[in-house]
């Protein structure tokens, strides 16, 4: 493709997976205890989407990558310190809640509005990337809702591979049941891709890319609009962590043979 792609990646920040999460009640609904103090990371599947976007852009001259991210400004700043060193992109930040309890419909409306306001974005060359499901809400609906708002009719979810064909069409592998992929052929942009893991390793930190990115990211963060998603009619009755704690029997003194017998008996027990 001579003019390349305009790739917009939607990705938010989530608590570091190693943190213990404890829900609390607030007047606005459930939230995480000490949410602002929890270290954050870029949502894992959205991060894969960003790496795939950068890789695709590197192989299609004239392409450009934007990262549209909704989150608390302080959290975005913290996460960008790391992510900005990975790949080149322009940040479009929105200062707002990134809670998993926030409604996907309201979040999608904010993200779609931010995408529509990107200066110079050519919608005929638009590839909308994002994580298949977030590590917070984990619903897998926000991307489709944004796509609908932007009028994108070719949408793919659980994407592990996107290959550009010689004629400019895309071959897409989407995850389906049973550990398999559905293979689709799409004529080209505009299209939406909710990425799963993809095939690329996490890029190494590159301080030069980091410095170049941060020159634009810091002013963008300062200018970030504060947005509160419109209140929705979702009402939580409860939000609680699972209570089940197992009484683990620790078996230390059995031989491999004895353990094997016990395991086989357990497997074969109906």
């Amino acid at each position: 493709m001579s003019n390349g792609y305009h790739i917009v990646v939607c990705g938010s920040v989530v608590p570091d997976p190693l943190q213990t999460l404890e829900p609390i009640e607030t007047p606005a609904g459930p939230a995480l205890k000490n949410e602002m103090l929890l270290p954050a990371v870029l949502d894992p599947w959205a991060a894969h989407a960003l790496y795939e976007a950068a890789n695709l852009a590197a192989h299609a001259a004239g392409s450009k990558v934007w990262l549209v991210s909704l989150g608390a400004k302080a959290k975005l700043r913290q996460v960008m310190m790391t992510i900005a060193q990975k790949v080149s992109f322009e940040l479009v930040p929105i200062d707002g809640p990134a809670s998993g309890f926030a409604d996907a419909h309201a979040t999608a409306a904010l993200l779609a509005e931010a995408i529509q306001s990107i200066t110079g974005l050519d919608r005929s060359r638009l590839l909308l990337f994002g994580g298949w499901e977030s590590a917070s809400r984990g619903a897998g609906v926000t991307m489709q809702l944004i796509g609908e708002r932007l009028g994108i009719l070719d949408q793919f979810q659980g994407v592990d591979q996107l290959r550009v064909q010689p004629d400019g069409a895309f071959e897409i592998l989407e995850r389906i049941e049973g550990g398999r992929h559905q293979v689709s052929l799409c004529q080209g942009p505009p299209a939406l891709f909710g990425w799963a893991t993809g095939n690329l390793p996490e890029p190494r930190n590159n301080p030069q890319i980091g410095m170049a990115n941060m020159r634009a990211i810091m002013p963008a963060l300062q200018r970030a609009k504060t947005a509160a998603p419109a209140p929705d009619a979702i009402r939580y009755r409860s939000a609680s962590p699972p209570k089940q704690q197992r009484q683990t029997r620790i078996v230390k003194n059995l031989s491999a043979e004895e353990i094997a017998r016990e395991i086989v008996a357990w497997i074969e027990k109906a």
């Binding site: 419909h105 962590p241 491999a256």
Partner: protein
Amino acid sequence: MTKNILLLAHLDESGNGLPKAAGEALGAAVELAKQLNASLSIGLIGGDVQAAADSVANSGAQRLLAVMGSDFAQPRFASDLLAAEALCRTASADLILAPATSRFLRALPGLAHRLNGRVDTHITSIQVVDGAVCATRWFYRQRIEGVFQRDARPWILLLDSGCHEAYCGPSGKAAIEEIAVALPSEARRTTIAGIRAPKSDSQTIRPDAALLFVAGAGWTKKQPDGKSHPEQAESLILGFLRASGASLGGSKSLVDQSGENQAVLGFMTHLNQVGQTGATPRHPKGLSTCCHGEEPHVVGWRFINERRAINLDPNCGWARGKADVLYVADAFEVMAKVNDLLKKPQS
């Protein structure tokens, strides 16, 4: 007040019947319609839906609607969305239940926007509390369970598989109301080229298996002789999968090694990954090997009922209330013995 419930379903890959998850969603819809004293309709999407419609003809549904034809046989966002929209508008449903299949998870969120409704996915149960419909689902990757309700209608709920008894009733002769949907050219920009299985010498992901077998990064680490033995690990794991019929899962650290040029298990892909950034499969039993049982991995075990683990570290995560039994042992030795026992004819 819910008056009309619509159960949306698509045909399975055979093109004849309904997926198992659709039967479960129908079971939930039938139960809910009774509780709410609401009317139930069924909307089917597929090539030729007559056989599938016949299988649910005695479910008590007042209407059996269908969008059918070759244009709607394949899972594709644009055509599935148009078909589902036509069915929902015809049924005038205020509550729409559907199975959380990959096909519907792709398409139905867009439907909510078109109907000016709301959608929630990965629903694990639906209850009626004080006359209001409440849904339950997990947040933060199976770490917090939330119960919620919405006032907005239509409300689309996609139910996860394995969470409800499947509808089971006698077949009959269904009278289908076919809804005609014309597919515009812009909805045909995508074509389906087929299904591809992961690169492996055998299918290792078996959603209906009774046992989940998880391999951790320890399988590729140095053993007491100072060397790693990935070939032996592969042989033991594949041998066990063949003998037991288990489904294979992997920890993120093991799956990621393929991208880091370390010793890898050739059949292990990201599709096998279980945990925070992987799958949360449903199996009655799970056996973890060479995996430390850290929280980001174990959240993927939320729906595994009986859990056992083999690890050399008696203080690993599994020991802290995450497994029923932890065997402190060398997984290479134990699994070799397990394979021997499984191969022997049982007395």
